[in-house]
Structures are given as C-alpha cells and as structure tokens.
Symmetry: D2
Subunit: 228 residues, 4 copies
Amino acid sequence: MIDLPTLVVNFKTYYESTGSRALELAKLMEQVSEEYGVSFIVAPSLPDLSLIAEITNIPVFAQHVDGVSPGAHTGHITAANLKELGVSGSLLNHSERRIGVDLIADGIASLKSHGLHSLVCSATPLVSKALASLEPWAVAMEPPELIGGDVSVTTRPDVVKTTIALIQEASASVIPFVGAGVKNSKHLSDALLMGSRGVLLASGVTKSPTPRIVLEEMAKVLQSRIDS
Amino acid sequence: MIDLPTLVVNFKTYYESTGSRALELAKLMEQVSEEYGVSFIVAPSLPDLSLIAEITNIPVFAQHVDGVSPGAHTGHITAANLKELGVSGSLLNHSERRIGVDLIADGIASLKSHGLHSLVCSATPLVSKALASLEPWAVAMEPPELIGGDVSVTTRPDVVKTTIALIQEASASVIPFVGAGVKNSKHLSDALLMGSRGVLLASGVTKSPTPRIVLEEMAKVLQSRIDS
Amino acid sequence: MIDLPTLVVNFKTYYESTGSRALELAKLMEQVSEEYGVSFIVAPSLPDLSLIAEITNIPVFAQHVDGVSPGAHTGHITAANLKELGVSGSLLNHSERRIGVDLIADGIASLKSHGLHSLVCSATPLVSKALASLEPWAVAMEPPELIGGDVSVTTRPDVVKTTIALIQEASASVIPFVGAGVKNSKHLSDALLMGSRGVLLASGVTKSPTPRIVLEEMAKVLQSRIDS
Amino acid sequence: MIDLPTLVVNFKTYYESTGSRALELAKLMEQVSEEYGVSFIVAPSLPDLSLIAEITNIPVFAQHVDGVSPGAHTGHITAANLKELGVSGSLLNHSERRIGVDLIADGIASLKSHGLHSLVCSATPLVSKALASLEPWAVAMEPPELIGGDVSVTTRPDVVKTTIALIQEASASVIPFVGAGVKNSKHLSDALLMGSRGVLLASGVTKSPTPRIVLEEMAKVLQSRIDS
C-alpha cells in the first residue's frame, strides 16, 4: 500500500540522479519522508534499480515495464523481475517512452498480477480517461509541451479538473495524478487542491542545488493534506 | 580489456536468470572463469544490472543501451550510467530488441566515448558487414530463426565463414562473434575453429539443470584456444 | 454518412487484392452493393488508394493514417490528403499496424476535423472500452490470435457481447464492430445478432475463388437487417 | 534504367504537393524533364502514388517501402504492389521515417527482386558507408539538422566528399546522393562537382512560388553535366 497524497520523483537519466548520486538522493528522500511522515516514491533509472531498491525503504518504481512474462526477451523489463527486487511498481507510457495501447494494457495486467502498482502517463484529459478504463493504479496527466519547462501544469486548472473528472468517470478506483513543470510546494499545493492525489516531478528535485529544502517544502504540503 | 576468445551469457529475462538466481549464476560464472583462467561476459537483465556489477569481477554487459546523453530520457539506458555502475559494455540491436541504424551508430559512439565495449547483433552476413562499418567492438551474427532453438549456428559453416570474412572486409579491428542455438562445448569449439572469437548463448547455460558442468566444458574449450 | 450495418473488406497487401485485382474487386463490391442496396466499405492498400477512390462509388477507407498535419512528414498519411482523394475514412491501430495511444487520439481528431470516419481496432474488450473513450466513429474488436484464421470471433459470443457493452458504456455514439476469422454469411449474421453493427473481414473475400458469391451472401444478410 | 545525374523531388505530405497539386507538379516536372532532356524523379505521398504513376512518364518513387511479401500486412507497402502500379523505386529510411537495419536490408532485397530502385537515406558519412554495404541502388546522405532548413549540405564539402568516398569504399556500384537544405541550382551544381550523382530536395521545389523556374534552373545544371 502506498499512502496518499504522494510525490513521485522521476530520476530520468539525468547526471544528477544516476549512479552514486541516485543512491544519495534516494536516501535523502527516505530521510525527509520519515521525518515528516509523508509518502514519497522514487523512480530511478533502469540500471540503478536493483541497488536503490536494496538500500531504500520508500517505494521504488521502475521508469518502464514491458508486459511480457519471463522468457526470451532481451533488453526488456518484466514485472516478475521488479517484484523480486523489491520494486513497488512502474511508470508506463511516459511521454519520453510511449508504447502502444496493447502494451499498456499488458503492462498494467502484468504488474497487477505481481501485486505491483501501475502509474500510466497520458498527454491529455481525453487520453487520461481512455487509459483509466484499463484500470491501472493511477493515471498521471502531463501536457508534453510543459514537461521539463518552467510553466506548471497547475497554471491550467481547467485542464487539471477536467482530467480528474474524466478519470473518475472512467473508473472510481483509479487515482488521478498530474505533472509537468511542477517545481515547488505552491505547485504541489495547487495540484492537491484541484483534486490530484499526487504529483510527478523530475528536474525540480533532481537538478535543484538544494534538494533537501525542496523536498522538505513538498513534505510540509503533503503533511498538511494527510488529515484534511 | 576483455580477453579473447570469450563466452557471452545473455541472461535475457528468463526466470532462471533474473533476481537472486541471476546473482548466483553470475557468481558461478566468475568462479569457473577464475578456476580455468578463461574469459566470460555476463549480460543480466537491465533491472538486475547494478547489483550484479557490484558483486562480480567478470565483465558485465547491459542487454541494451540508448545512444543518448544523460538528461530527460525516462526509461532509457545511458552509457554514462553504465560506466559509473562498473558495467563494461552493452549488447546493441539484439533480435529481440532491434533499433534503427542511427541509434546503433549513436550507441556505439556513446559507449566508445565512455571506454565501454559495444557488441552489435545482426541477422545475416551482409548486415554484419554493414554494422562492422560502424566500428563497434564486436559484431555477433545470429540467424533469428535459430535463436532459442536446438540447431546451432555452427551447423551452417558457410554462413559463419562468410560472415567473418565480410566483417573483416569492412573493418580489420572489429571482432567477429556468432550465436544462436549454441548449447554445448562442441558448438563453441566449432565456432572458434571457423574463426569466431566468441560465442553468444543464453538458454544453453541459463536453463541448464547443471550450469556448472556446461560452463566448465565451455571453459575447457576456451582454455585450449588461448595459446593456440 | 455510411449506412449501417456494413461490411468492411480489408484488402491488406494480398496479391489477390492489390494492383489491377484491387480495382476489379472494388468494382465488384460496388456492383453487389448497388444490386442489393447494402453498405460495403473497401480498404485497399495505401499505394492503391487514389486510383480506387477515383473509380468506385462505395466508401473507401485507408488502412492507416498518421495524425499529423500536412508538412514535412515523408512516408506518412495525412487525413487532409485522404479527404482530397475522396477517401471516406481510415482504419487505425490494426493489429498488423499498432500505434501509440496518443497517435490514435491524434488520428481520430485529424480524421474528424476533415469530416472523415475513424475505425479503430482493438484486441480485447477492455482495450475496446478505452479506445471508445477517444470518441472515434467506430471500434472494431479483433482477437489477434483469430485474425487470418479459420475460427470466427463469433464463436466467442461472450467476448463479443462484453465488448459491445463496454464500448457503449464508454460512449453511446461509438459504433461497435467485430472481426477476425469471419468467412461467411453465417458469421456475419451471428455478429449482427450479437449487436455488432458491422464486420471487418479480409481473406474471406480477397482470397475466395468466388468473391461474388461470398459478397452476395453477405449482402443478403445485411439486407435482412436493414429494416429489422 | 534511370539516367544520371538526377534530381529527386520528395513531395513529403506538404499541402502544396499532395492531391490535385501533386498531379500538377508531377506533370510540370515531366514537361521540364522532356524539354531539357534531363532526369527527374518524383516521390509523391503514398496515397497519391497510383494516380501519379498512371499520369506521368518520369520515374516515380514511393517515400517508403516495407520489405515484406504480399500478404496479411495491413497498412504496409510492398514492392510487388509498387511494381504493378508502374512505380520505379522507393526511398528507404528517410530521417522522417527511420526503420531498423534488417528492414532496410529486406526492403532493398525486395525492391531488387522486383527490378525496382532503392534509395536509402542516411544521416552521416559513416552510416552511409554501412548502408552502402547492403548494396542498394543509391545512398543519399542528409544531415538531419539541415533537412527543411536554409543551409545547404553543400556548405559542408568535407562531409559530402567523405561520404562519397566511404560509399565507394563500401561498394563501387552504389550511387552517391546528397540532400538537405538544397534550394537552388548553385547547390545542385556544387553537389555534382563534389561527386554526388544526384540530389534530394523537397521544399525548394514544392513550396516555391515559381516551381517551373526552379526546375528549369536545375535542369540546366543537370544538362551541363550529362556530357561532361
């Protein structure tokens, strides 16, 4: 079980969040998570996965999974392999790693059968609804033109609210997330107020000169929303 | 530097060679490699990479790499990340993970710039020549219809010899490998006699009930060829 | 406007239904369609499109469309180009030409903005629901393992009925179709009785030694359902 | 047989060169080709192919081909289909339609077996050499960053000359072409002087307000090189 609301930090393949720096950043996330009693998820690069899953207690997500069973699949990621490493779930269909709709459906099913969480990314409110129909754990809507930029998705409240409504229309049990351009605690706070149960972010933490301060500010926002 | 001839064991995503079993099998490969003084390369699943690179002394290869620089590339594999984890190289363009020719060229260049080895797979003699022109460390020709099956590539000596000649025609410095259907020391011995400097195999080791025996028989063949 | 129920004949790239044979078969479909007053749709190969759209009066669909605007897109298919040639719509995401969910959404939107029909293919009831959320003209569910084979999708009435119910749950305006293994008028009749408003088929017509007879039998079934 | 040197005009999917405008532009190319006795190749959009192949006498190329035999391949392009329509060849691996190296090899082989010409695109001198090893009819090197822009590939004479040398090193029978940013007769003239036997261009003709003038200027350059 992953507590909500939560913050998903996507390490991508940034220099600042791969290799030994990934280990340090994951440990920092764990410390702040424990100090504030809030929920953080870390999504390290695929090659970093097993070491990070071994050293941290917060939930670890893969950045991608292939919906295939163990077997002759060179260069693929199986849910069975993730499960055994202590990984808790996976992103699917991130805008930097789009896959076909069948592969999304297979990935969700494969994660689910191993008791793992699927966080499926989408680009628009309508696609969010479509993907919510596949019954993943969560759908994260991220307008691609805002990813990695300085304009937060929360500056488009209509898009965020429409997305959340459409996800709930498709399935009441699917958790709505948003992301893209999220850099600070104000963005997180706004997103949660709009109904999002979590936020995806990357460079806002990974490229910050003071990641502890960013994480602590985020933690305070999450904390204030736990009992509300 | 990787000693030649060598045996590359592709763990794919088989149940028998992922997670804790991957660690055991990699340690077994290391032991046999040291006992016999021969060269083995292990290519574990992407999520298993960092743990295996940490615990073993034999060269570790990724099963795939993306020729991109560190940055906003969710779900990708960078050479920089591999280098930092102590990985020695990567497979590229395996038949189960084909990529475009530009991505092969970028992957080779990216690995090379980090001092890593590129082992590019191909399906035919002619494609082997084309890919050897890109100056990877090695080209491994594997007829797709034989991969995972019971007929060894070495039952087609003309195809093997033509491949090796074409690779050398394209570039004298590129190391020729073959693979597909290779299960036992006779296949390895035949491949080396035909001019191959190494062999790729997977299920012959990973699914064997007695992997130590298979590896020891392979080690004896490699040993006999070191000084010859 | 395309009349319902309808029969979509996918010419794929079979020898029997490309080039001059495609023209003949499209003319035959037109004749039978007119004689019986029923609705047929022809989906010729992409290179054959412009000639067939010029010579036939029945609706012509492309086998694939890319949801891009006119511009620098070598080897792509734009809805604008199809519209100008007199094409009426396009298949999207056929099991032999799968695309990402964003590309499906873009393709539907692009076709719609040109007044063209989108027929989106899916592999399962659940994916059918997801794709119906994107508001295409129609969703055609085809179990991949039955495509091109001798077992009709209609031998699985539960799957067909579940699919139709899920499509209607997602959107009342999306037309449900089924396909795969459909060879004769009995299969068509069964599909329509189960609630499908049309059927996709290919080799049942294109590879028949007597396509006129097959089409006439199909036409009789469609005719009997128009007034019912 | 296609006469050399030649000019390949890629119509892409521009508004100005699809549908009825494609027919007019192809006829214009034919007229100028005949008036000046020079070699032009037209590469229209895939849906426009059959009509253009029917109305023009200059060689017509597809913008893409799939190296598959006729059969159950929805949305694919077969060489057999192209041949029957009177198409003379195809581009392969254009930067806007990249494919895997096996598919390039299969496409070349399939075109060759139908007596059709393969024009394989590449991004760099080294990749040009690799693709020339596959023995296509021609290799066209186009630096992707210059495609569609205002800087001609001919402003990089070293890159052009290296490319041509590497192509010839791989295979003396493969014809070297260049492209990207080519807009006027000076660029064409420079390319031919550097050893290129043809040039690929697109917007320089398709988006010109006076395509006849551009084509005539190009024709004069080609004419001057025929007997030299």
